[in-house]
């Protein structure tokens, strides 16, 4: 189970999905977004390993051994699902048919650079499908904790990690705030219940533009 604030962050991110969109939800927190969409909501979920029209996740007892998502979870279909090979799957991604992708992050820079695939010397399992999602989806948003386990900010002026793609992130949902990436850097859009603007500024390693209005709370 997710903590209350993470659940609210995921629910807030779900509102980013509008009617009729084609959406790819990355491994980890983004996958949880699907639990916050109404049953009859018109949307098409895509997974890189070859499916449009992802249905609910299934328990091992009910799982089909041949039906997983890109993260290895056993999923199901919906009426109108289609299966296809890996080349067609990334044709969807690279030709701009994804309206939105939600990804995890190690770091996001104030220019919208995304680093989420490699920490040199520590973690280098390969880039998988992330680079094409980050570079080619029409809109890329990030779901992440605001800081890493050691408390270091993940939102930084520049990222020192190998990049997944440059200048790709439009918006970041964290357990503290919703932040947009603008031409002038990070802009605070919303804060989590109980979190002050000062808290967000302190946990962010880059200047944060704070609008002179009352911000929504999620």
């Amino acid at each position: 189970m997710l903590s209350d604030v993470r659940e609210r962050m995921v629910a807030r991110a779900a509102r980013e999905i509008t009617s009729g969109m084609v959406v790819n939800l990355g491994i980890g927190l983004p996958t949880k977004v699907v639990n916050h969409l109404p049953a009859d909501f018109p949307v098409c979920l895509h997974t890189e390993n070859g499916l449009t029209g992802i249905g609910p996740t299934l328990s091992p007892e009910k799982a089909d051994r041949n039906l997983i998502d890109a993260g290895g979870a056993y999923v199901s279909t919906v009426p109108g699902s289609a299966f296809f090979d890996s080349a067609t799957s990334f044709a969807i991604v690279r030709s701009g048919r994804l309206d939105l992708t939600m990804l995890g992050a190690f770091e996001v820079s104030a220019a919208g650079d995304l680093a989420n695939w490699k920490i040199p010397g520590k973690f280098s399992p390969g880039v998988g499908g992330g680079i094409e999602l980050a570079q080619k989806a029409r809109r890329v948003v990030v779901l992440t904790t605001h800081t890493d386990r050691a408390g270091n900010p993940k939102l930084r002026q520049t990222s020192s990690l190998p990049l997944t793609a440059r200048a790709c992130v439009s918006r970041i949902f964290t357990d503290m705030a919703v932040i947009d990436v603008s031409a002038d850097g990070f802009v605070l859009v919303e804060t989590a219940d109980g979190i002050s603007t000062a808290d967000v500024v302190a946990a962010t390693d880059a200047p944060l533009i704070v609008p002179d209005t009352c911000l929504p709370i999620f």
Binding site: S19, G20, V22, V34, L37, A39, D40, F41, P42, V43, C44, L45, H46, L51, T52, G53, I54, G55, T77, V78, P79, G80, S81, A82, F83, F84, A87, T88, F90, A91, I92, V93, R94, S95, G96, R97, K136
Partner: protein
């Protein structure tokens, strides 16, 4: 979650086509040619069109109507052998024609649909087909650069569809349709039958509906779809 409904009346679908657009048209001979959508484009009247199609059909059929009406001024194709009218328009300078090797035309369209910039190919190296093309050396060998083709609109003929725009083709009516259905900003599919969601098996879909913008059900088929007696 529910997959969106993309069913649409033909005039509404083709209304988006603008003067100067590039239009891909499926089909190889009669099979797979979207005869009904082509007539709708004639009725719509958009001019100065670039057509991309394997062949020019036969006189009085398919894209020949767009050549006769003067709406098409440019044609990217592989072979005009069955349409003497198209050859005459080409020879009198009324139609600019770019010939491609057939499989290279297919790959260029597929590259457009796959979001890649070009393919490197050795087809035509050493013949006039390679004249004027960019050549790249890779590992000591020469290749021609065959740039991806994309279109503003693709007109597709399918056998079966569902309301999300998943498509299935039949027999040799498949040909260029699945490739073009990936390679245009706006993809319009006519289908002989439009089924309720879930009645096209997910394993049997040839074109995932995610590529398709509008799907429309054909009523009774016109005479242009039937067996040609030559």
């Amino acid at each position: 979650m529910k997959l969106p409904d993309k069913r649409c009346a033909i005039p509404d679908a083709v209304a988006k086509i603008k003067d100067g657009d590039t239009v891909m048209v499926g089909g190889f001979g009669v099979p797979g040619t979207p005869m009904t959508l082509i007539h709708a484009l004639v009725a719509h009247g958009a001019r100065n069109l670039t057509l991309i199609k394997n062949d020019a059909n036969e006189p009085g059929m398919g894209i020949d109507h767009l050549l006769q009406s003067g709406q098409a001024t440019r044609l990217i194709t592989t072979h005009l052998g069955l349409n003497g009218t198209a050859i005459a328009l080409m020879n009198t300078g009324k139609l600019a024609v770019e010939f491609n090797a057939q499989g290279i035309l297919a790959e260029r369209i597929r590259a457009g649909g796959a979001g890649i910039g070009a393919i490197l190919s050795d087809i035509g190296i050493g013949t006039e087909l390679a004249n004027g093309k960019q050549v790249v050396e890779m590992e000591g060998e020469d290749y021609v650069v065959e740039p991806a083709l994309r279109a503003d609109v693709a007109l597709i003929h399918a056998d079966r569809a569902d309301s999300f725009g998943n498509l299935a083709y039949v027999a040799t009516a498949r040909n260029f349709n699945p490739l073009m259905a990936m390679a245009a900003k706006c993809v319009i599919a006519e289908a002989e039958t439009v089924l309720p969601l879930g009645e096209l098996r997910a394993d049997d879909v040839h074109t995932p509906g995610v590529f398709v913008d509008h799907v429309t059900a054909l009523g009774e088929l016109s005479k242009e779809y039937v067996v040609v007696r030559r």
